[in-house]
């Protein structure tokens, strides 16, 4: 399936996938990673997070990971998610697309040097 069908990604989906790019995480971990990376530019609440995850799983971008749970994680939280190969390709493609757009913005002098929002 042509990964271009999945583009463009919604900001929320993109950030979730970015969070998973470093490796499998569970819900709490994704939340933490997104907050860390995006700060207060994006709000991600539990309900929308899992909604995104469900959709991404349905589209074959994300999958449930086989990770042995550690002891201090509560039972409900022990489901881990990871990127599939397709997912990895999709998030990379999105990143390239955004980079291209950012380059155009830079050429148009929209960006002050060093100050890129994020």
């Amino acid at each position: 399936m042509d990964i271009r069908h999945h583009l463009p990604l919604s900001p929320r989906d993109y950030l979730v996938l970015l969070a998973l790019a470093e490796g499998p995480r569970h819900g709490y971990g994704i939340l933490g990673a997104v907050t860390e990376q995006a700060g207060d530019m994006v709000t991600l609440d539990p309900a929308n997070l899992y909604r995104s995850l469900k959709r991404l799983r349905r589209d074959g971008i994300v999958d449930e990971a086989d990770v042995p749970p550690d002891e201090d994680t509560p039972t409900e939280q022990r489901r881990y998610f990871e990127l599939t190969d397709v997912g990895r390709a999709v998030v990379a493609a999105e990143a390239r697309r955004l980079a291209r757009l950012t380059a155009v913005a830079r050429e148009a002098n929209l960006l002050d040097d060093g100050v890129v929002a994020g």
Binding site: Y28, D45, A47, N48, Y50, K54, R58, P74
Partner: protein
């Protein structure tokens, strides 16, 4: 505290789709709790913020999650609210696209809106009438508990008795419609009612000035009256000083104590529609005996009492009366002859309006269905022409449901626009209806198009839009891209749903035929009514109402009447003149007037009949035919024996065989001598059954009545001459208009003429629409097949033959459709009798007319398409 918040959050999540809940509900809740606790570490405010964020997020997630669910994994073309993503198009978007598409094809839009407008306009018009006449509750307090004591009119003492002895009613009142004379310099008619003191209060009437009558007016020596608002403005110019003044009614001074509020509508079945003056009855009036039965009695049921309960109590009174007053209330077996059965005022008011109105409503709905059929045909054709566009959209990933939704939205928009047009048309239609209606429908004056009816019509319109639009939308959304692209490559050919369209036209033909045959049988029934033998000779006969005034006593009235007869008969061109309470056909619409009695061979047992006091000359003026004997002459009453004339039915009932002049009958305890038997006069109209009637001389038996109708045979003089002559003989008399007898007869049939006309209009419209639909479909098909026709013509098939085939197709469709229509008509034809008596028989003449009309319609429908086909030029089509 946190537990509660989390629990509530968990509840809110239940709004999410099942699948998401099953997969992740617990996780989402756990995550929420953890984030809140984490935030709580930074203070209460942070915790609250986390809670709020979680909550809002959950609410925001719901619509999105459902959208994901329904989109079912379709690929997206582009992000954003536009674009074909299954059901992601909002309703607003769908409507906007539908509107744009409709605006782009203005002819289709206007045509379909016009069709819906016509069908809905007719439906709303009839619905408004049905609502105003049948459905709306009467404008009186607790109207559903108002009840009328039936069996025609009652005597005042009976009414007073019921007031005391029938606890089923919390209040009982009596009223009797009557004409009075305002006895001023120029005497004038006043429509009015004699009422018991509590009547107006019971009906919830209020005064704009002054007060209502109390129970002790007469006890305290006052003669009072209340004026109706319309009469107050018309006759007294809205003079506010009128309250307190006296006015002369029938020669007696009555003090005006109040003016009724303009909003009050008199109950027609109790008092008549127009009441100018309300006159309380003097309870001590010696004329209020048990023998004069002239009051309508109505009351409000006591709380918790049903109509059946009241019926039981009234029946008990009937039995009491039968034993207390046997000659008046019992038959020869001692059983009560008169049953005082209660009926709700609502039922009495509606009377027999339900039958005709339901048929008219059915006619309007059939017309609407035919209009829907035409609309559907047009939409189908339009859908076929948009095949390419719709198929392309689907090829690009457009959801079938989106397209279906848009097509349905288009037909719904058209239907709603048609509703607007229809309601506007109906406003005019209702006014037209009220103008043309001869005044026989109860409460017709208050009929108007109101919000409730418009609301119901909107529902009907939406249903019609769905009905008309569904098949076109379904077939339009099925446009398979491959098939369409293949087709457009090879040139436009193909059927394009012609099977459906043919079915539509067939259905329309059936519906229109149903309406047509119904209209024809009703027309037939009506024309039969107009030629029914009336029992007299109406040519050259004129009717004239004269009220000699109630100030005179009986002797005085008899004398004045004689003087009038002499004066009128003295005119050179008047050959015969006579008078009675009314002339035949004058009392119409199933009503009866005015006096009922019984005749018997032996003293005691009797056969009920209508009693008519008439003057000498009555029968000869009308041209009634005598089987035996003669009419009254002056001096009949003087020779000691009381004469009576019977009609054939009464004679048959009493004497069985041949009746001879001189035989005796008993009228109560009076012995009467039969001096003549006339052929039955259709006194109550051609639609009513013939009843037993007998005639007494006005001088002895009728002069309690001051209002008479004079019948003149010949040519009456000009109006002013006539009035002068009447004024000579009877100075205080009020004279009406001279009416030819044929006009009186036509008036009695007016309601049937009206219903027939309305139904015929519906049928003609439906037929026109069906023809247009058939013609349009044939032409459309011919255009589509132009290529094929061109080939055929080039190969030598005569275009004439092809045109004949078109005509044959049209005829076949009409034939099958009309056959179905006739079949559908058969089981319901008896219902048409409610519209026009005798309107249920399909006789050969109507059938022949039916076939003729259909043949012409088929021909008309096929005319243009056949010409088109016949003129096919192969060179132009193929080249």
């Amino acid at each position: 505290m946190i537990r509660v918040v989390v629990a509530l959050y968990g509840l809110a999540l239940r709004l999410l789709p099942r699948g998401l809940q099953d997969d992740h509900h617990a996780e989402i809740v756990a995550l929420f709790e953890r984030t809140v606790r984490d935030a709580g570490a930074n203070g209460a405010r942070a915790a609250c913020a986390a809670v709020a964020e979680g909550w809002l997020g959950a609410l925001r997630a719901v619509p999105g999650a459902w959208r994901d669910e329904l989109a079912g994994g379709r690929s997206r073309l582009e992000w954003g609210p536009r674009g074909e993503r299954g059901k992601t198009m909002s309703i607003r978007m769908t409507l906007r696209q539908a509107t744009r598409s409709l605006v782009r094809s203005p002819r289709v839009t206007l045509g379909v809106v016009g069709l819906f407008g016509l069908g809905i306009g007719a439906t709303v018009t009839v619905l408004s009438v049905v609502d105003g006449v049948l459905v709306r509750s009467l404008p009186y307090p607790e109207a559903d508990r108002l009840v009328v004591v039936q069996d025609a009119a009652h005597a005042w003492p009976d009414f007073r008795d019921w007031q005391e002895t029938v606890p089923a009613f919390e209040v009982l009142a009596a009223a009797s419609g009557q004409t009075f004379t305002l006895t001023e310099a120029i005497p004038q008619h006043l429509e009015g009612a004699r009422i018991s003191a509590e009547f107006l209060a019971m009906m919830g009437a209020e005064t704009s000035r002054g007060r209502l009558p109390s129970a002790d007016e007469y006890a305290e020596g006052r003669r009072v009256t209340v004026l109706g608002d319309a009469a107050w403005r018309r006759r007294w110019g809205g003079d506010p000083e009128i309250v307190g003044r006296t006015i002369p009614i029938d020669g007696i001074a009555y003090q005006v104590i109040g003016i009724l509020d303009a909003a009050f509508q008199p109950p027609d079945v109790l008092t008549g529609t127009e009441v100018d003056v309300w006159v309380p009855v003097d309870p001590a009036d010696p004329e209020l005996t048990r023998h004069t039965r002239s009051f309508n009695v109505a009351g409000r049921l006591a709380p918790g009492v049903s109509v059946e309960g009241a019926a039981v109590q009234l029946e008990a009174r009937a039995i009491e009366f039968a034993s207390a007053f046997p000659d008046l209330y019992a038959d020869d077996a001692g059983e009560p002859r008169r049953r005082f059965a209660p009926a709700t005022l609502a039922d009495e008011t509606r009377g027999d309006a339900r039958g005709p109105l339901s048929i008219l409503l059915a006619g309007a709905l059939l017309l609407l269905l035919v209009a829907c059929g035409n609309a559907a045909s047009i939409l189908l054709a339009r859908g076929a022409s948009r095949r390419g566009e719709l198929a392309t959209r689907r090829a690009l990933g457009g959801g079938r449901r989106t397209i279906l939704a848009q097509l349905l939205a288009e037909s719904t928009i058209l239907a709603v626009a048609g509703w607007g047009v229809g309601v506007a048309l109906a406003v005019g239609g209702v006014e037209l209806f009220k103008t043309l209606e001869p005044g026989d429908l109860p409460r017709i004056g208050m009929v108007s198009v109101d919000l409730r009816v418009a609301g119901v019509a909107l529902l009907i319109a939406v249903a019609a839009g769905a009905l008309a639009g569904f098949v076109p939308a379904w077939s339009g959304s099925r446009a398979s891209p491959a098939a369409v692209l293949r087709r457009s490559a090879s040139g436009s050919r193909g059927r394009n749903g012609s099977g459906i369209r043919r079915g539509l036209v067939l259905g329309e033909a059936a519906l229109a035929s149903l309406l047509l045959v119904g209209a024809l049988t009703v027309v037939q029934g009506f024309s039969e009514l107009t030629v029914i033998e009336p029992g007299f000779e109406p040519d050259g006969v004129y009717a004239l109402s004269i009220d000699v005034g109630r100030e005179l006593d009986e002797e005085g009235r008899a004398r004045v009447t004689e003087a009038l007869l002499d004066r009128l008969g003295a005119f050179p061109d008047v050959h015969d003149v006579g008078a009675g309470l009314n002339v035949p056909f004058e009392v119409a619409g199933g009503n009866r007037c005015c006096w009922r009695g019984s005749l018997a061979l032996e003293e005691g047992d009797g056969a009920d009949a209508w009693v008519h006091p008439v003057t000498p000359g009555y029968f000869s003026a009308l041209g009634a035919r005598f089987r035996v004997g003669r009419g009254f002459v002056r001096g009949d009453e003087a020779d000691g024996t009381d004469p009576v004339i019977l009609n054939a039915t009464a004679a048959e009932r009493i004497f069985g065989g041949a009746t001879e002049v001189g035989q005796s009958v008993f009228f109560g305890s009076r012995r009467l001598r039969v001096i003549g038997v006339i052929e039955d006069l259709r006194h109550w109209g051609p639609d009513q059954p013939v009843e037993a009637e007998f005639y007494l001389p006005y001088g002895t038996d009728g002069s309690w009545a001051s209002g008479l109708t004079f019948a003149l045979r010949g040519t009456p003089p000009a109006s002013e001459v006539l009035r002068a002559a009447v004024a000579e003989a009877a100075p205080r008399a009020v004279v009406g208009e001279v009416r030819p007898m044929h006009a009186v007869m036509a008036r009695s049939l007016a309601r049937y003429r009206f219903y027939t006309m309305v139904l015929t209009v519906f049928a003609a419209s439906a037929l026109l629409l069906a023809c247009t639909g058939l013609g349009g479909t044939l032409l459309y098909d011919a255009r589509l097949r132009a290529y094929e026709l061109g080939v055929r013509a080039a190969l030598g098939a005569g275009t004439g033959a092809l045109a004949v085939r078109v005509v044959a197709r049209a005829s076949l469709t009409v034939a099958i459709g009309s056959g179905v229509g006739l079949l559908a008509f058969w089981p319901v034809r008896s219902r048409l009798g409610a519209l026009v008596p005798g309107g249920e028989s399909l006789d050969p003449v109507s059938l022949a007319a039916f076939i003729a009309v259909l043949a012409v319609s088929a021909g008309a429908a096929a005319w243009i398409p056949a010409r088109f086909v016949a003129r096919t030029d192969p060179a132009r089509v193929l080249g």
